[in-house]
Symmetry: D2
Subunit: 357 residues, 4 copies
């Protein structure tokens, strides 16, 4: 067997651990040839060709290392690739050619929604056997209960909340922490519960500034002169929530981000010093947590198992605690959002966290 | 409603978070009276009576704090209580009296296997309404998929492995790390995978010293002059595995612990400097990880929900991702062990980890 | 002896550790009365009077806790206090009255430059005996070689750099991390060296965007397609460096902060994806590092020693590794800046870090 | 210029950072040839010859990585090398030959007391130009105020104390933590202060078990039913303190280590559950703290500066905050012990820590 690994999209702690597990199993135990493609799909294009063999030796020390040794720079969708003259070109055929020239049995593609869609198209449109490994720091892929990198991001956000807490408490402030989550608020919800937030604002629940302000006032009345607000990137007040997701995103960008908007709409309602911190890329990098190292290792081994079983066209996923495969076509559908009537939201409310809705 | 919280057994990160969630929900939102009993069940005995009201204010800052503000010192089974004259006495009736005198609707008992058995007996034998919240750092309670504190222990053990790794690699050593797990090897298995161990020794899989030595030799032959061995407290070589668990434990204690035994039986087979570290209590204390804070919070809220629904006699548990209640009688049965033919064991083997069996 | 503790200004990890050490020594061993004043000097004003006795018991668990149990909210300079009608009023006499009414032998004032100036004025203008304990996260107080909180801030910034590193390296980016330091670049310089930055921009060394761009290009030429730039809050390109510090600050604020300006001036010179993260309050809060706990403890004990020796009017400081006292009047002069010709700057250059000047 | 780096002795966080800084400066900026010798001096012997060129590229990612890429395994003193027949042989001449054959201008030797003594002898006895870089996790080298790795060890020990604290406090226990320090108690003293220990036992201050027990009893009388005792590896009760250091060490080894002895002698005096944890190798490995990364970088650059200035025969050291060089002959004399009448010991006592003497 001869396969190549491709990694697409943004960084997530655990990418190297997937690669390491895949190579240890496939090369070290099964004797396959495994190639690593650099720069996502673009490493297969002639002008940027970058493919190298991966061996257990090249994986030493990778388990706990963040980032990916393959690099994932994405200068464009291969199916609508931006050309120097400003036009776009479908270069899917070139990818398929490269796969044939390299005599590969298939590609293993680690990536998010967008990358998996490309993988699916490569298979259905060009006959390239593909296995997918899901990757999204936001944990919003419908097909899998959990993705690696997510828990590490929650850890980073919770540690930030712990830090902000002491300052807020000592200095009578309303502190906003903006965390990742454009469409799904999983990071905000989990880190908010773990970090003892007073308010959590989620994309799934457009908020009433009045309700939020009322929570802050009630705390003041009890002598707690500070509050901590966790804001997902995609959280908006009700007044801005109408229309499509795309329109909403444009409004958030125009407003300087979700935390800036929250501060803005709360200012007239709350008399307090307000500060905000945007965690940004701090959530994406660094060493994966033990949990994510294990999950990434399971995904890497799972991908080998699928390939060994000839189950091309499937995506590795975690369901009810088990590693399984689901058809890629089914996988790249709707996102997994926070369930507003689910147990975790109820838990947040049960410990007094205001969700603003 | 008027209930009291009792915490029994050893320390586990998240005890305070359970208490905080319970109080925030029950007192802060439902208006119940909640009392905290100190020193486990003994705080209900007249000679050491220590019961105090718990309020949301008394829970400030507790979410991330290790240990428990109630204390859990256990100077003996209340149903076979050691008396000064050396005899033992069944003082269950006194507990029931105290519950009546305090006009409690019931007790919420956070504790491990042993503590839950006492809770069950208090209910069945003395008619005291009880709700259980499971607690075991080893994660070996059959009734629940996961207990709080376990993931924090895995984090601590993995961090220790990361530290040992650099020294072992630079200094050509075989390093043994003994982690908790008398009967169940979950901590050893998960931290071993996450920490890149070369060998993991589990109570569930009595090991062949020859197989372990062979793994170390194979690594040497590949130029890797060091190895990392994770040893669960209850892991034994095959020669010592016969007989009952109790006999096995006695042998381990006599041998100075599982890591000492592993070093002993490997010494004749492996020519290398060997060192061992026993993590011990470092795995029990300290701030719970974000994951454990959330799980403990869910358990605390779940206990309120069970009490509110009149479901006395049940144990809060996590099953397939959901918080549920199961009858205490069912819960205090067999332990949840590592499944030798399960996916996680297969994953360990797939990345080249030797389990010695 | 009867003294009161006052804490002013922003948060810094170690404030509680100073308080704890002071109380353990003064109350626990010497039998003094120690009061804690809340809300900085304002807790001595009648309308917000908040003074409470501090005992060793009230200090339990404080050594590692961030923030301060006294709170430090500062709603204005007591010597130019903002009145409801918009005017300001010198209320220094009221402070002195409160000190007399409380029958205090003196005040121990923990705070930065501004707070120490007020303390000095209280002593020289109103005869209130005062001992100062320096506090600045930026470590820019001329009188002391080191202040508590600084090393914790460097730790936080370095950890952030570690995280950004893996993402930058995997994804071909120029990453800017803005850290504290309006006037002095100590945090930027130390975290930059410790975090393996490629470029460090300091307030003390206005930078040439061309030099910075050239460094990034040289790295590219060597195949390192990413760069990490640490930017102190007060760092500016040469073109914006003229005039007074105040004018410079105004320019930085107008430009959206130092990192935003750096990105702006580099954009025309560097073709690369650029991202920035502003650490902000994450550097101020949280548990002090072991180093800062020790230093804060030494400062707290040192303040007791000065008071016991009747050395009012002095500031505790660390000089050449020793705790000493210096006259407050000497202490509140020029700041301690990074020495552009010092060994640490030379070290940064020696390992290839570009300072842009 | 052409030099080789040799690293001897045990692991210490920062070894790789020294190497990286040396190579970045010497190779990257000054254009020297730098070789790395593996396995300490033994990599220069013909039967284990292992020397390779070091370049800035080979140093990527090393700043924060523990251990050393060179390995430091020491199978014997080259001046009294253990031969297969049981005799020892002075092989210093072979080292000098290797240095000549490699056409080296000199060796840069990173190591502790023993290693520096060998380096000194190589220079004085065989004319090999040598520069030393001090390394001891215990921070007990007389020539330098501080060594890299020490602060990281204090961080690890303090974190362990934080963990033990919560368990001890919740469960009424006397907890012993044994930390490194055979001759010097710096790690015990600093981690003990930073971790809020109740008792610290140092090699420099043989302790009275009665005094220690009295402290634990006094705490009990105040309602604090637990105590934390930090024990340096070389701490002994007075009864075992007589005679030479060597005799004392033999007694400690015979007693199972300093913590075991402390528990033993305290058992008859204190009625409490006692537990102990031996940190061991956890203090030696892992990523260096930001402080140690900076110090190691300064040492590495300092070694280049000495070599460039032709100051062979000197040891890099930190004195009063400055990197300097001192003659190796002066450096390898008496150790730097904790000063029993110094400020840090006084600080420990001032916050109520019992030192037992």
């Amino acid at each position: 067997m001869r396969v190549a690994l491709v990694m697409g999209g943004g960084d997530a702690p655990g990418l190297n651990a997937v690669l390491r597990a895949f190579v240890k199993r496939a090369v070290g135990q099964l004797g396959w040839d495994v190639l690593g493609v650099e720069h996502s799909f673009q490493g297969l294009f002639p002008e940027r060709f970058a493919v190298r063999p991966l061996t257990p030796l090249s994986c030493q020390g990778l388990l706990g290392r963040g980032g990916t040794i393959l690099g994932t720079t994405n200068r464009g969708d291969p199916f609508a690739f931006p050309m120097p003259d400003g036009s776009t070109q479908d270069r899917g055929g070139e990818l398929a050619d490269a796969v044939r020239r390299l005599r590969l049995d298939g590609l293993v593609v680690v990536g998010g929604d967008g990358t998996q869609r490309m993988a699916h198209r490569l298979m259905t449109g060009h006959g390239v056997p593909v296995i997918g490994v899901p990757k999204t720091i936001d944990n919003d892929l419908g097909a899998t209960d959990l993705t690696f990198g997510f828990r590490t991001a929650v850890d980073v956000a919770t540690e930030a909340l712990d830090r902000l807490h002491t300052t807020a408490a000592s200095h009578d402030r309303v502190m906003f922490l903006e965390v990742m989550g454009r469409d799904a608020g999983h990071i905000a919800l989990e880190s908010g519960i773990a970090g003892g937030a007073d308010v959590i604002l989620l994309p799934e629940l457009p908020y009433s500034p009045e309700r939020v302000a009322s929570k802050i006032h009630k705390r003041r009345a009890l002598g707690r002169t500070f509050s901590i607000v966790v804001v997902a990137e995609g959280a908006v007040p009700r007044a801005l929530a109408e229309g499509s997701l795309r329109e909403r995103r444009a409004r958030i960008d125009a407003g300087g981000g979700a935390a800036a908007i929250a501060r803005e709409v709360l200012s007239p309602l709350v008399q307090a010093e307000m500060r905000f911190v945007v965690l940004g890329h701090l959530q994406r990098g660094g060493s994966p947590s033990p949990f994510d190292r294990i999950l990434a290792t399971r995904f890497g081994v799972g991908a080998v198992d699928l390939a060994a079983a000839g189950r091309w066209g499937e995506l590795v996923c975690l369901r009810q605690g088990r590693i399984e495969g689901v058809p890629l076509g089914d996988a790249v559908q709707g996102p997994r959002l926070v369930d507003p009537s689910g147990e975790l939201v109820a838990t947040a409310r049960a410990v007094g966290i205001e969700l603003g809705a």
